[in-house]
Symmetry: C2
Subunit: 449 residues, 2 copies
């Protein structure tokens, strides 16, 4: 089924490559960002393992072929076209940055090397997966930075598509969230799942039923519960939570009102009752900016719940990753670098590798983008071969490895890039190797690179 | 599987309702918008048929139960809890606005009446579906309005999650797009699918291969093709497209550069060659504002391709639909209206119906929100019963009926609401019935409604 998760034009071009006699030619395509907005001095790469799985499982099912046989605009291509699709598998190579890598504009996040029709067909699906997951992981990373080590729980499922929600929870975890509310993300990916009670449970006990609601909830979760205290009157809710749970009160969640004043009041009351280890969880349309402000204003917060802002990232609602042909096999069999010169949309030709220079303490100093076939440059090469001739290279890494990589690489960044405001003023240095730069200049002059 | 597409707290509350002895109590919950930003004077409701299907198919699979049996935080609930979940089905009623309805803040888009645990569990899934689809349909409606009858093709799959892309294509079609690039949306929902060629196909023919690429493409799609002309030099690309396709040139697509000047030049050259019926398709980060400006500046456009802006709607990245308990069965068996009084998040108690007053020509004059059990108000009642005791009421309407309803209801709106800028200055009138208003005021005073 997954092969139909694509744009019509990929299928149309696939047919035309066969008509052109180009179907056996090998192509190299790279997925990269042209630029980033000031609010994202870096991204955290996510979705790579999902993309690998999609490539390994890529195929047209019989129901897809039955649909395509009748589809207006494609039906005239006939049985030969359907036979091509029936036999189609991804038989190429994939080179990719490991999930959790910190990346910058101009760097290939992944590269496909495959026969032209295969390299073309997978464009839409790879972009959907990597753009979505990387966007969410990158926003989560910023919010986790603002929280300064306090756990951030992602609970945005209700603000995004129900299937996107599961993968958003996964990406947010890679980016630095401590967990999610999404239960399926726990089952499918092992992301830690948590949750408390909602306002509805309290309302269901009637307008004066908050005490009974708390009591019933504590009885159901006797090993420790976090209670939501703002349904009617937050200060009263705090007292009732203390009365209902006592020593077993793991924490209180405040979702509305003056979070600074209410959280300080909650801390005061909890401490007065000897509940020093009870946590205060704040939520309610939070993001990295409001969390930074809450903490600066003296809010007493031990954890944050963030929904909408992680799954939609309103300050960068789409990640503009693109997937471009960078080299194609010429009639003589040699790979020939190619570039697009459209105004504002020019590309850099040639298959590339990224090298990250680090100091003795592992701090990132700068990246160099070079041609994949030139002599290794200074620094650590980042892209790894993950699929070879259609087969997985090595094992599936555990998700937590991606999360740990992201944490490590974010700490290794120059401190200015981790600032919530102003992190874009002095961008991270990314340079092209001399050979790559020469090739790019030649292509832009309209030469035959 | 779908039952696990939920937040942990829904499952926790479900368990606590049983512990509370409230599991048999009937509840009414409504999904509605609290407010809309100025850039959305109305929304187009979408996702209803998907929500219905989700309710009808709701269940926990054995693999879900095996996961929950071991899930930290839930495992202590034991076998009794798992048995409850194994037998859980949606056995309640659903009342909903038909898909394609134009709606406003304060109006219930749908209402669930079911036993408390069922009504609670479906909260997250219903919000995910309706918030996502309605957000996309509403943005698509605005873009289609700006295009003034010219077809708009949605092609944003690469800027959203791969599964969300399919349902975004469906929702955009409901909202007014003429079609999509997403092939799976064609198979699954019958949305018209179209596409041309991409820059990669041209680059694959080498830096001087545009003419050959066009020739090969026309040969593959001899019944008429639209050619993308901006890969190298747009004016030259137009000439080459005319030369390659001649009479069979259905159109040209321009994706970069000065769209006003280039589209006028393209029209001039096409007309000079007698290709008056060849269409000019414009694309490249367009939205309702830029389309309005392009047309005002004299661009020669017959159709638009819009991707990112439809699937992400950056001016309203999340639709803030909420799902709230509005009534619950009391100990005596009678339904008792309830409301939440949290600051800024208060709700209006009671199960509701929406009545739309129209003039003789079908123009919408204003809406009244009333209690579902009060005598019918003036106007056309909008919410319909779609599920009764867990079973579908009536048949599945075809998707095109939703699209036609949206078109009809948008035309029936006061013209100021259809303006791209300033449509929020004089909002559409939505009033509460006297009885509903009295109940709301009583609840806000803290009385026992």
């Amino acid at each position: 089924m997954r092969a139909l998760l694509t744009d019509r034009y990929e299928l149309a071009m696939l047919a035309a490559y066969h008509r052109s006699g180009l179907a056996e030619r090998r192509a190299a395509c790279e997925l990269f960002l042209r630029s980033l907005p000031p609010c994202r001095p870096f991204v955290v790469v996510a979705g790579i393992e999902r993309a690998i799985r999609a490539l390994l499982e890529l195929r047209f099912e019989e129901e897809d072929l039955a649909y395509l046989a009748e589809a207006p605009g494609l039906a005239h291509l006939g049985g030969g076209f359907l036979e091509l699709l029936r036999g189609l598998r991804f038989r190429g190579d994939l080179f990719a940055m490991p999930e959790g890598t910190v990346a910058f504009p101009g760097e290939p996040i992944l590269r496909i090397e495959a026969a032209l029709p295969e390299a073309q067909l997978v464009e839409t699906l790879l972009l959907s997966i990597v753009n979505h997951d990387t966007r969410v992981a990158s926003k989560a990373a910023r919010i986790a930075l603002a929280a300064g080590g306090r756990p951030v729980i992602e609970f945005g499922s209700r603000r995004t598509h129900e299937a996107a929600a599961v993968d958003a929870a996964r990406a947010a975890y890679v980016g630095g969230c401590a967990g999610t509310s999404n239960e399926e993300a726990g089952r499918r990916y092992g992301v830690p799942v948590s949750g408390t009670l909602g306002h509805m449970f309290i309302l269901a006990h009637g307008p004066s039923g908050e005490e009974r609601a708390f009591g019933d909830y504590v009885a159901t979760f006797p090993e420790g519960t976090t209670l939501l205290v703002d349904t009617f009157d937050t200060e009263l809710g705090i007292e009732r939570a203390i009365a209902a749970a006592g020593e077993r009160l793991e924490g209180v969640r405040i979702d509305s009102g003056d979070l600074v004043a209410l959280s300080r009041r909650a801390r005061e009351r909890l401490d007065a009752q000897g509940l020093r280890s009870a946590k205060i969880v704040l939520s309610g349309d939070l993001n990295e900016y409001s969390i930074e402000k809450l903490l600066a204003a003296g809010a007493s917060a031990d954890a944050f719940g963030v929904g909408t802002e992680i799954v939609t990232s309103p300050d960068m609602p789409a990640l503009g990753g693109v997937y471009k042909l960078v080299a194609v096999e010429g009639p003589g069999g040699a790979m020939r670098p190619v570039a697009k010169r459209s105004p504002g949309k020019a590309t850099v030709p040639g298959a590339k590798q990224v090298y990250r220079r680090e100091d003795g303490a592992g701090r990132a100093l700068g990246d160099e983008v070079a041609l994949a076939d030139e002599a290794p440059r200074q620094g650590r090469p980042i892209l790894e071969k993950r699929i070879e001739r259609g087969a997985l290279v090595g094992a599936w890494p555990p998700l937590v490895a991606a999360r740990e990589r992201a944490a490590r690489e974010i700490v290794a960044l120059p401190p200015r890039l981790r600032a919530i405001v102003g992190g874009d003023r002095d961008p991270y240095p990314v340079e092209r190797s001399e050979r790559l730069e020469a090739l790019f200049q030649e292509a832009m002059r309209g030469g035959n690179p």
